[in-house]
């Protein structure tokens, strides 16, 4: 299993914890999929006197690695403050850094992201930046101290899958040793399998599972797809080619006519 900042994760499937019909169904989804990391938003839930504590206790009871996030933050300052709050609440240096740049598409703000990543890294955080597949942006994030990248497949909640295959492939190829998680935009297990086949280390999703008619079944489907994609990657797949190659030798017939 891949290591993120020196910690080995239990599964290549990571799940968000928002929008499920109930915390019980959320727990089922984790149980059936064996997902190894749970992301949790705190920006809106925090309030006075740790008002979100009951829900966070339920997340802790899942017994998986918790990755708090800064979802809902639109500025560097908001994201940094939220990250600091998260560190206190969950006693972890991990933070999934989201700095939203566009309210409608929830597209990351690349400029704010780099700045916030630098501030948080200097403050001792281990930053998981939610970013686009842009090579230059990813390079800057690595220079800012990030040890993991989380490029999107497509905008959050769209379920469109891997929107820019070329960009993602080229990102993977340019930084072969950086752990990378495809975060956001996945709608179907086949898309998760594709990400794993392309050599990404893990996938993180939320809406595709939480909003499915049967979230736990969908989570299990994703887990199986992630496993399939990982196996395929390791097995060194054949190259696609144009000429047919029959798997049974065609004896006694002229060939290359």
């Amino acid at each position: 299993m891949p290591f993120f900042y020196g910690t080995e994760i239990a599964s290549r499937l990571m799940l968000g914890t928002a929008q499920y019909p109930s915390p019980a169904i959320l727990a089922d989804a984790f149980k059936r999929s064996g997902a190894g990391v749970a992301t949790v938003s705190i920006r809106r839930e925090a309030g006075g006197e740790r008002a979100g504590q009951d829900f966070w206790d339920l997340i802790r009871d899942l017994n998986v690695q918790v990755l708090p996030n800064t979802a809902g933050c639109h500025s560097v300052r908001e994201a940094v403050t939220t990250a600091q709050m998260a560190r206190e609440l969950f006693d972890t240096r991990w933070i999934k850094l989201e700095v939203i740049g566009h309210a409608d598409t929830l597209q990351p703000d690349p400029f704010g992201l780099v700045e916030a990543a630098r501030i948080l890294t200097e403050d001792g955080f281990q930053v998981f930046p939610y970013c686009t597949e842009d090579l230059v942006l990813c390079d800057r994030l690595l220079s800012a101290g990030c040890g993991v990248l989380m490029p999107w497949g497509a905008p959050i909640g769209t379920g469109l899958g891997l929107n820019n295959i070329y960009g993602l492939r080229s990102l993977r190829a340019h930084f072969p040793d950086v752990p990378m998680v495809i975060d956001a935009g996945l709608g179907l297990p086949s898309q998760a399998a594709q990400a794993m086949e392309m050599g990404f280390d893990a996938v993180l999703l939320n809406t595709a599972v939480a909003k499915a008619g049967d979230p736990a079944a969908m989570a299990e489907g994703f887990a199986k797809a992630v496993e399939a994609g990982t196996l395929a990657r390791r097995a060194d797949p054949m190259e696609p080619r144009d000429m047919a190659a029959p798997s049974t030798p065609v004896l006694g017939k002229a060939f290359l006519e």
């Binding site: 915390p23 169904i25 809106r44 008002a51 008619g213």
Partner: protein, 327 residues
């Protein structure tokens, strides 16, 4: 001589249980630190939709089934129940949300824009498609609470200002306050807005589906509308945020631009009591029966739970939502 029972909590659950038990001959008193219906109870802030079919989209099975008793029960208590059904619509680019809702619910008919305009004239031309749930209903929650209280008083039920544990048989309906004993209970924060929009006329609740900002609007009569409601995993019972209110208001504005000129009458916030599966529970521990966790389904489920409690006390029938019975 009839059996004396004390009910703790004068919210929707306490009042419904009291009504049901009083009607079956028990001698009831109700204890609450604030025994008059008011903003201290989260049922004060409810929408008052009796929408068992719509709720089936996200709630588990018992909610829809048990909720189908609600409209008749409330009407039988003399509460004004408006049986005009309810509508579900979506804005153009979110039409998949309506497809999903259609797949996951029962008891609806699809209306085209002409049919929609016929039953809800002010929505004419605004939506090309809507779902109509003809068997759903709604009520005014505050009036409903007041009506139950008035009837109970007339029936000789005593209301006492008290937060202490009473003697004898107790039914604990304190909602989130029972978290001191029911440790798996949590709060789910909800924010709502009340508007006065004399230019808008809606005859039934309308739900606007949206991937990020879902909204429902319940007409309360006299040009007054309730917009609800956020659902945030937090036990916070005050502090409506700008973001939440802005989301509710812009969704309402998107539903009908005339809401832009509405008067802001009230901004409300409270936390709903919920168990981890968001389903209600009846628990018996010695002389105390707990009825709690009705989540966002207070008015929809309280009648069914009240009946279950009565059947438990009279017939010894174990309620289907009972998960603990310790003598």
């Amino acid at each position: 001589m009839s059996v004396a029972i004390t009910i703790r909590g004068a919210g929707v659950v306490g009042l419904c249980v009291a009504t049901e038990l009083a009607s079956r001959g028990f001698q009831i008193s109700i204890h609450d630190p604030a025994p008059t219906p008011g903003p201290q109870a989260c049922s004060w802030w409810a929408g008052g939709m009796l929408a068992p079919f719509c709720e089936g989209e996200s709630a588990e099975e018992p909610v829809g089934r048990l909720g189908q008793q609600a409209a008749d029960w409330w009407a039988a208590q003399g509460v004004e129940v408006v049986r005009n059904g309810s509508l579900v619509v979506t804005l153009g680019r979110d039409r998949q949300e309506l497809d999903r809702f259609t797949r996951r619910t029962e008891g609806h008919v699809t209306l085209d824009s002409g049919a929609l305009a016929k039953i809800e004239p002010q929505l004419e031309g605004r939506f090309d498609r809507a779902l109509h749930f003809p068997d759903e209903a709604h009520l005014n929650p505050r009036r409903a609470l007041m009506a139950l209280r008035t009837r109970l008083e007339a029936a000789g039920v005593r209301f006492e200002k008290s937060d202490a544990m009473p003697d004898g048989q107790v039914i604990d309906c304190r909602g989130l306050a029972a978290r001191d004993t029911l440790t798996d209970l949590r709060g789910v924060k909800g924010e709502m807005v009340i508007l006065r929009a004399p230019d808008v006329e809606l005859l039934r609740p309308v739900r606007l589906l949206h991937p990020r900002f879902p909204l429902y609007i319940v007409p309360r009569g006299d040009g007054v509308f309730m917009l609800g409601a956020t659902q945030i995993e937090s036990g916070e019972r005050d502090r409506a945020t700008v973001r939440s209110v802005m989301e509710l208001l812009s969704a309402a504005y998107a539903l009908h631009p005339a809401f832009g000129e509405a008067e802001l009458v009230e901004i409300g916030v409270d936390a709903r009591p919920a168990f981890p599966d968001n389903l209600p529970r009846v628990r018996r521990r010695g002389r105390v029966i707990y009825v709690n966790g009705l989540y966002r389904h207070g008015y929809l489920l309280a009648p069914a739970l009240a009946r279950m409690v009565a059947d438990l006390l009279i017939e010894g029938n174990r309620p289907e939502v009972m998960d603990e019975d310790r003598g």
